[in-house]
């Protein structure tokens, strides 16, 4: 399949998952609000444990709705959005490198078949994984997977720089990129620091930081809905730009030795 179609297909799948996650959030909130209204109107509700056939206490179900909806549901949905961002960016890098494996090494000059200067990119891959392979394609696949896996542990700033050094998409813009960095920093705070804001968050979120050190990450609905819109817009814009470039002849590589004119902002 042509690279442009592969990119479009990836973007469509990501957008479909975004829509699915949004619907799950909205419908689950609506279902919980319905429960809240039933309780508020005094409609008799009974719940029994099927194993014992004994009634379960439901007295505090109503009081838990607010916590479930505004904290648990919102946070779990937010985590999923962060995963979608990662799947999109790293998926795009994987597709690009598969089509243009020479971009694995920015110092390799496809025109001469030689590397420029003395500097070279290095990717470590166990020899045992190469010895049974008979041709170059599986070796390149292994290198690409290794590269993408290594990138997955890096910050989004590095993901975007990695792309920009190979193909200048011109998106996301500075403001969008800053919000994306803040999102990943907030997600990592929820995942690794019980949602308490630390210095790592402040450093990574940079100018887009929303909380002070020691505060707790809060995922309110306007913020969450803003995220759905931002991610959809970023995926669509990057997909159009990347697919457009992939449709024509291989674009010239952007300058990458510290002379890049348009880099994602440093947080």
């Amino acid at each position: 399949m042509p690279l442009a179609d592969e990119i479009r297909g990836l973007a469509d799948r990501i957008v479909a998952r975004l829509d699915d996650a949004r619907e799950f959030y909205v419908h689950t909130r609506q279902a919980w609000r319905l429960v809240q209204q039933l309780a508020y109107k005094g409609r008799p509700i009974g719940i029994i444990d099927l194993a014992t056939r004994r009634p379960l206490p439901i007295g505090d179900l109503d009081s838990r709705v607010e916590r479930y909806v505004t904290v648990r549901l919102a946070e779990s949905t937010f985590r999923e959005l962060s995963t979608l961002l990662e799947d999109w960016i790293l998926g795009l890098i994987r597709l690009w490198l598969t089509a243009y494996p020479e971009d694995l090494d920015l110092n390799f000059d496809p025109a001469t078949g030689q590397r420029r200067g003395r500097k070279q990119e290095e990717v470590q891959i166990p020899l045992s994984r190469l010895l049974h392979l008979r041709d170059c394609a599986p070796i390149l696949d292994g290198l690409i997977e290794r590269t993408v896996r290594d990138l997955s542990y890096e910050r989004p700033e590095k993901w975007f720089r990695y792309i920009e050094n190979r193909v200048r998409l011109g998106c996301p813009d500075r403001s969008e990129a800053a919000r994306l960095y803040e999102m990943k920093a907030a997600r990592d705070c929820l995942e690794h620091n019980r949602g308490v804001i630390n210095r790592d968050y402040l450093e990574r979120a940079g100018t887009a930081a929303r909380f002070a050190e020691g505060a707790r990450v809060r995922i309110d609905e306007p913020y969450l809905m803003g995220w759905f819109a931002l991610l959809r817009g970023v995926v669509e814009a990057m997909a159009v730009a990347a697919a457009g470039m992939a449709s024509g002849p291989k674009p010239a590589r952007p300058s990458h030795r510290g002379k890049s004119q348009r880099r994602p902002p440093t947080p």
Partner: protein, 80 residues
Amino acid sequence: MIDEMTKESLRVENDDIAGPSLMVTLTQLDAVRPLLDRHEVFYWVDADAISLDNGPYTTVINFGKGGDAARIQAILDEAG
């Protein structure tokens, strides 16, 4: 089999992603389970049952992604 709540035939609901499911009252659950077991149908039942407005307690039988909605419906229909 007749749905105690609607007085119509029990209807297996199907979802493309989650697979088939069946909502039943507790008395019907006791009748449906042996039927499904006899036909070696894979399923699991929600851990609790809910009653609204003092109606009968209902629960859900889940058949999973691999569930065959048409086969399960046929088994229920044959049981009368």
